[in-house]
Symmetry: C2
Subunit: 114 residues, 2 copies
Amino acid sequence: MSGKNPGLDTTTLSALAEPNRMDIVELLRDGPLTVGEIADRLGLRQPQASKHLKVLSDNGILEVKAEANRRIYKLRPEPFHALDSWVKSFRLAIEDRFDNLEDYLLDLQNKEKS
Amino acid sequence: MSGKNPGLDTTTLSALAEPNRMDIVELLRDGPLTVGEIADRLGLRQPQASKHLKVLSDNGILEVKAEANRRIYKLRPEPFHALDSWVKSFRLAIEDRFDNLEDYLLDLQNKEKS
DNA sequence: AAGGAATATTCTTGTCAAGGAATATTTGTA
DNA sequence: TACAAATATTCCTTGACAAGAATATTCCTT
């Protein structure tokens, strides 16, 4: 393994980056829903809803529970925890006191002298 | 305006969802860098580095400071704060006690009787 | 068993975004 | 002034992905 892609899993972000899928996640915030309800409330056609739900499930953002005819989708906590950890890990990086821009400029000027 | 897209700005997520751009963000965690250094350390060609940096800047994730010949890119705090708020707002939604799946199933069964 | 409801899947098509290559632009330097 | 370094931009090609339409699958009800 070469030390590539150290950050957060980008597939999670890709999944959330599609507006309809973001809407689905926002909708499921209030609790689990069936495919039909999701499609209805968001004005999506059923097949597109199913497809987006599949993407979200494949990425671990949602989980399904089969209940007879229906499939009930709900949020999974893990990806949100991961996102939270990732964002939190930037606390130091984005605080102004860690803005070593000045130092970096000095470094650049020093290297000019070579 | 129709109440569409209530969640987080998906363009921020799209910008971060590209692996090279995620790498750039991870790299800039340690402080500001020039285009050349970013390209070098990540094994990117200069034009692609510039293009990715432009996307990140256009989305407010990075900011530039022109220093003579060089352009120095660094992280901007705002999008991380936004992401943090968004993720935090899911705390209630993903706690198990808010898993009203049982209630929902009962609801479904009740509606069957219509 | 037959029909209908809920959901998933397949196929096609159009759009968009990323990489490659070449070139333009700006600035510093001999 | 000419040249080199650092960065940005343009054009082209290709691949991924989302919507639409049609169809398949599963399960319930009569």
